[in-house]
């Protein structure tokens, strides 16, 4: 099925009395993308989704679908559908009637409706539930029916408002894989809202990180993780160590940073444009830090000494919190891949940490 859509959000603003929910937000979403809006509660992602669906009107800006503004169109006239957090299946209609609802609203013939409903049920692998009522279904089944209902009349765009948050962990993982496959098979554009950064990283082609009504960074998952553009993004996505310091000098991709209380550190292959003397932070992912009693650093590595302050055994990995000489607590990860004893260090042990010069990424904000 070839369905393409190009959605453009231009300088959209929305405020409620004094509270600014969205502040001049602009985005371009390509056809066939799995695009995610990611951010903490209150960042505006759900507000934006509701504006796209038509349940609310922006105070400024425009929303264009295929280069045509859809702001003045009511929800029932927009060629996009929403998957709600609590599924919103109509309790007084059977599953078949639920799925057939949009077709009925569009005026399809009865025979057509029957055929397409059966087809939709086959697609979500629930063909024998047609006559059942929603309250007889499990959470995962309800979610699949909600998706079937939203896709049955082939919308241009699907909006998903934290659809998996009501499911338990194992089921959520299953549904995530199903969603990825579904999106790939049908090729329809998904706009997904979540506060779970792990979910966003796993599902999306591109992610827009939002905070307090603004877009902070839009990128593919790997670059968001490896090259966050601010402390906020670095901290929000995955675990991150933030080492504050001043830029001493920059020569091309090579930057020397004076870390507070620790000394100079060399960052190579840096993509951040720094000005000498300005404040910055080095973002360091825990898995990029080497930790050992005697770390034997190579030329490209920076190293420091400290002691183990805390540790968390997580089964597959152990997290070590190391206190450095300036009092900073550094989080490092060690995979428990060696056979036998898996606790390499105890609390209080003296250890050394090292990381390669391209392991960290500098952020200025």
């Amino acid at each position: 099925m070839e369905i393409t859509a190009l959605l453009e959000i231009v300088d959209v603003s929305r405020h409620f009395d004094d509270f600014v929910a969205l502040d001049k937000v602009s985005l371009r979403i390509e056809a066939g993308e799995f695009f995610t809006l990611l951010g903490p509660s209150g960042c505006g992602k759900t507000t934006l989704l509701r504006l796209l669906a038509g349940f609310d009107q922006p105070d400024g800006g425009d929303i264009l679908l295929d280069d045509k503004s859809i702001i003045s169109a009511p929800p029932e006239q927009r060629p996009l559908h929403t998957i709600f957090q609590n599924y919103a299946l109509f309790p007084h209609m059977t599953v078949a009637e639920n799925i057939g609802f949009p077709l009925r609203m569009a005026g399809c013939a009865k025979k057509d409706i029957q055929a397409r409903v059966s087809e939709a049920l086959e697609n979500v692998r629930l063909p024998d539930k047609a006559r059942h009522y929603p309250d007889a279904l499990s959470g995962g089944q309800k979610q699949r029916i909600a998706i079937a209902r939203a896709l049955v009349n082939r919308p241009r765009l699907l909006l998903l408002d934290e659809p998996l948050s009501a499911l338990d962990a194992k089921l959520r993982e299953q549904m995530q894989i199903e969603l990825i496959n579904l999106q790939k098979d049908i090729g329809i554009t998904f706009i997904y809202v979540t506060h779970d950064q792990g979910e966003a990283l796993a599902l999306s082609h591109r992610i827009a990180v939002m905070d307090q009504g603004r877009i902070v960074q839009v990128d593919v998952p790997e670059r968001l993780y490896g090259f966050p553009n601010s402390r906020f993004v670095a901290d929000f996505i995955g675990k991150c160590n933030l080492l504050e310091g001043n830029v001493r000098e920059q020569q091309g991709n090579s930057v020397t940073v004076e870390l507070d209380g620790l000394g100079p550190v060399h960052v190579c292959r840096s993509e951040t444009k720094c000005v000498a003397g300005s404040r910055c932070a080095l973002t360091l992912r825990p898995e990029k830090i080497r930790i050992a009693a005697n770390v034997s650093p190579t030329e490209d590595e920076s190293h420091f000494s400290g002691s183990v302050h805390d540790m968390l055994y997580l089964g597959d990995v152990t997290v070590y919190i190391v206190a450095l000489s300036n009092g900073l607590l550094l989080e490092a990860l060690l995979a428990n891949s060696a056979s036998g004893r898996t606790n390499f260090f105890e609390v209080g042990d003296s250890v050394e940490v090292a990381w390669s010069c391209d392991a960290g990424h500098l952020v200025l904000e």
Partner: protein, 295 residues
């Protein structure tokens, strides 16, 4: 979504208009009527006079002054309040155990038990009064039994009918569900874990009730009390049938003014007093309720 404003008016205007005409307006008309003279043949005299081509207002305060002329009406008023208070307290005493029991019962039984409380209430109002007339009648078994016992003890006989006792019993009987239902609605929402926690910390059965259940149920008690107090205040059928000459309440006098004496202005005055009292009680009750929630 578009069109919100006209939708709001479509929904709210018809019922508002109806109630303004048939509820609010009559109330104000009656307030106005309390300042008019009574008509020659009863009812209301015109409120203006046509004297020599000019319209002059023909209003008076005498109806209100009549209230204060003797202490009859004050005593009447106090008696009505007395009955209202007594009925409310008795309903509280009888209704609380019932509401508590239903709230603590299993899910399956609750609806049935509630229905059983409500059913007598939905039987006709007069039928319920009539039932007590049968019970209290001089020829009835109850009176004969009591008098028989009294005779044995050497005391004279009593008539239960047309007595304050009969009125009170009937008043409680008729209004009991009004106390039970709001109280139940409140008790049902109580978090029973609180009681377990208290027990865990050493509180016995009665203390658990006084320190936890009772305070939490006060909003329910307040609501129930208002729903009992106000109707009793305005009662006239029960005093009329069971009360006898000493049982007359404000409601009876109001009825009398409007139907028999046809002194509508004075009837309006009494109605206004009753209205103000009722409104005051409701405001007091909701103030109390709000204060407790705010704590």
């Amino acid at each position: 979504m578009q069109g919100k404003a006209w939708y709001k008016y479509l929904l709210s205007l018809p019922p508002m208009a109806y109630l303004l005409i048939f509820f609010a307006a009559p109330t104000f008309i009656m307030l106005f009527a309390s300042f008019r003279y009574a008509g020659e043949y009863g009812g209301l005299a015109p409120w203006y006079l046509h004297e020599g081509g000019r319209l002059t207002l023909d209003l008076t305060l005498e109806n209100w002054q009549r209230l204060l002329e003797t202490d009859i009406y004050l005593r009447l008023f106090l008696r009505s309040i007395g009955y209202a208070v007594a009925t409310t307290l008795l309903c509280m005493v009888m209704g609380y155990p019932l509401a508590l029991m239903i709230a603590r019962s299993g899910r399956k039984h609750r609806d049935l038990l509630l229905l059983l409380v409500i059913l007598p209430f939905w039987s006709n109002f007069l039928v319920r009064i009539y039932a007590w007339m049968i019970i209290f009648s001089p020829a009835g078994a109850l009176t004969r039994m009591i008098n028989g016992a009294l005779e044995l003890l050497g005391m004279g006989s009593v008539t239960l009918m047309y007595s304050p006792t009969a009125m009170l019993v009937c008043l409680v009987y008729v209004h009991l569900p009004f106390m039970v239902l709001p109280l139940y609605a409140n008790l049902e929402k109580h978090d029973l874990d609180l009681l377990d926690a208290a027990q865990d910390l050493g509180a016995g059965k009665w203390r658990r009730f006084w320190l936890i259940t009772w305070p939490l149920s006060l909003p329910g008690i307040t609501a129930g009390s208002i729903l009992v107090f106000i109707p009793v205040l305005g009662m006239f059928a029960i005093p009329d049938l069971l009360g006898g000459t000493n049982g007359i309440m404000i409601g009876n006098v109001i009825k009398q003014q409007f139907m028999e004496s046809r002194d509508w202005p004075f009837g309006s005055v009494l109605s206004m007093v009753l209205t103000v009292t009722a409104v005051a009680v409701v405001l007091l009750g909701s103030r109390l309720g709000a204060r407790r929630e705010g704590r």
